[in-house]
């Protein structure tokens, strides 16, 4: 087990290094320098600026400096807004994304597991076909489609909830719901499939035969084993919800990291794009690692070589 984790960790570090290197060299492929404005900067100032950002150094030295910065957690300044660093932006906006993501994850797991269990218990009945049809429907709707539709129905037409912006808990419902629907559907399908498998086991039949109620069998005996695939999906789910938040935050005008990321893409604010990409990559790679480890911990059938 220890060796398995070490191997995974090594893989994670390599993947991270690949991301950082690729981002660095991609950034240098972008035509034009960062100080090429419509009004040219005076030669002397440009030289000073280039010195400040080490742009006058040879490429390999810039790369090493960049690596050094990243190892120390410094993601660099924003070229569009020189008074702010990428670290500032992340510190300010990531908690907002995390809060939104937390509620979405909570909603997706709770509703998904309940729906999947109910479907499995009533396999083949109307409620099963009904919820599985909706599951496949919501899997087929990307969050950037769901979000405006919710905005339109609950905000514009019914006036139940605010159309956009951030502030009270009311502002959180629609965006969290838009983020959660797809993952809810995936979890419901996962739970249903593994629940059906567990329910056909002898120990469940034995519990039933002893006269325990369906609900008790489900909660006490079946759920624990049926949830293994769901738990391992939890980390990819968090990753999916955070990438989903790019557009949802933009649509609902929420000051989270996703919106900054998309805005920096619109503005071609390259250093912010790079910095946030590296940050997200580290976050998602960490989620992958945690998923692998929980999977190995929970399912003894996995060999860790």
């Amino acid at each position: 087990m220890g060796r398995f984790i070490v191997r995974r960790l090594a893989l994670m570090v390599i993947a991270l290094w690949v991301v950082v290197t690729v981002t660095f060299f991609l950034a240098h492929m972008i035509p034009g320098g960062p100080f090429d404005r419509e009004k040219p900067v005076p030669e002397a100032i440009k030289k000073n600026l280039e010195e400040k950002y080490h742009l006058n150094e040879p490429m390999w030295k810039q790369y090493l400096l960049y690596l050094n910065d990243i190892i120390h957690g410094d993601l660099g300044p924003s070229f569009k807004y020189p008074d702010r660093t990428v670290n500032d932006i992340i510190k300010e906006s990531f908690p907002v994304s995390a809060q939104l993501g937390f509620w979405a994850v909570l909603m997706a797991t709770f509703v998904g597991i309940s729906l999947g269990s109910v479907s499995a218990l009533h396999q083949g009945e109307l409620i099963d076909s009904f919820s599985m049809f909706f599951a496949i429907l919501f899997i087929s709707l990307p969050s950037f489609v769901i979000a405006p539709i919710f905005q339109y129905i609950f905000g514009v037409k019914l006036h139940w909830l605010p159309v956009a912006n951030w502030g009270s808990w009311k502002h959180m419902i629609l965006p969290a719901l838009s983020l959660a629907l797809g993952p809810t559907a995936v979890i419901a399908r996962l739970t249903r499939a593994s629940m059906l498998e567990v329910l056909s086991n002898d120990y469940v039949k034995a519990a039933r035969a002893r006269g325990l109620s369906g609900l008790r069998v489900l909660i006490v005996y079946a759920l624990k084993n049926a949830l293994i695939p769901v738990v391992t999906y939890l980390f990819p789910l968090i990753a999916a919800i955070f990438t989903g938040s790019f557009v949802v935050e933009k649509i609902f005008n929420i000051p989270g990291l996703g919106r900054y990321y998309v805005t920096s893409i619109y503005n071609r604010d390259y250093t912010v794009i790079l910095g946030v990409t590296v940050f997200y990559a580290a976050f998602l790679i960490l989620m992958n690692l945690l998923a692998d480890i929980t999977y190995a911990l929970l399912d003894p059938r996995i060999r860790y070589e």
């Binding site: 950034a27 899997i139 709707l141 998602l284």
Partner: protein, 313 residues
């Protein structure tokens, strides 16, 4: 039955005469008609109503995307300032946008791009993914180890982020989307094919083929890969919506196809600004994306159910 039949008895010519037609016992009626593996799959697939619905949907969408723009009376970029922001009507079934372009035609064009992206994703998986996984699983040993480490590392990298970055650097455009997606879309498939090949290559029919002197190429292309095709097809179908979503997402955040070309993602993104005044601008492209994804998911689910011999009903 006694086994000691004399050779002389077997030489009796009358034993080898064909049976006269009228004496045949109706042997054909005793055996069920021969069904091939794929015939069996098709039989199960046909019984799945949602899967058939998905297939029909796909054909309809394909027709609209391929033929629709050719017969539409409006070119996709024709601006008509006498017909700005019209609600859906007889002349413009999906309405018109803020410069009077016919939304129906533009959605059909967008569907074309979505389907092209889906097709590309399928091709990348079928060619690169299947060959890479096949070779890795078949060779085993050091080669397998190295090839799979490469996949592991690339797999750990969040694809969407790198694709976004590539699009920022390469600039918007359909060809660049193809490049960025093609670079990554074979990874999952390579893993699936490899594990399939690993189990298949221990099977006896492979040993038999080997004994008969089949070459490596023949073993891979004639025996191993065709037998791994079931999971491959299911994975391809279920992955196509992902590729289509990615393109729509990229176009949505302004990294996809460039104007006046339209993709379903950029159409939906343009429509969001008019959601209060002209909700159809957002609704129809969104519905089109959902419908395409739904069709592929129905077909993929149906294929998985009909290909899986352990299916319990």
């Amino acid at each position: 039955m006694s086994m000691d039949i004399k050779i002389e008895e077997l030489k009796d010519k009358s034993l080898w005469e064909p049976i006269p037609e009228e004496e045949k016992m109706g042997a054909e009626e005793l055996t069920a008609p021969q069904v091939t593996f794929w015939g069996d799959v098709w039989r199960r697939f046909r019984k799945n109503r949602l899967a058939v619905l998905g297939l029909v949907l796909l054909v309809i969408i394909l027709l609209f995307a391929l033929v629709g723009p050719l017969v539409s009376p409006y070119p996709y970029d024709k601006q008509d300032y006498d017909a700005i922001l019209q609600a859906p009507n007889l002349a413009h079934p999906f309405g018109t946008d803020y410069v009077g372009r016919d939304l129906f035609t533009r959605v059909m064009y967008g569907a074309r791009i979505s389907l092209a992206v889906g097709f590309l994703a399928a091709m990348v998986q079928l060619v690169i993914g299947v060959l890479y996984g096949g070779i890795s699983g078949f060779m085993g040993g050091k080669v397998d180890e190295i090839m799979m480490r490469i996949v592991d590392i690339m797999y750990a990298i969040p694809i969407l982020l790198i694709v976004i970055l590539l699009m920022v650097v390469l600039g918007p455009g359909l060809v660049n989307i193809f490049l960025a997606l093609g670079f990554f879309y074979w990874l999952g498939m390579a893993r699936i094919v490899r594990s399939q090949i690993l189990t298949l290559k221990e099977e006896e029919f492979v040993l038999a083929a080997r004994v008969l002197g089949a070459s490596t190429k023949r073993l891979l292309l004639r025996h191993l890969i065709p037998n791994a095709m079931g999971p491959v097809i299911v994975t391809v179908t279920l992955n196509i919506p992902n590729a289509i979503f990615t393109e729509a997402f990229l176009s949505y955040i302004g990294l996809g196809v460039s104007a006046p070309m339209a993709s379903l993602g950029s159409l939906a993104s343009d429509g969001v600004e008019y959601i209060r005044t002209a909700p159809w601008l957002m609704l129809f492209p969104a519905l089109a994306i959902a419908l395409i994804a739904l069709a592929f998911n129905f077909v993929g689910d149906g294929l998985r159910d009909s290909l899986d011999p352990r299916l319990r009903r």
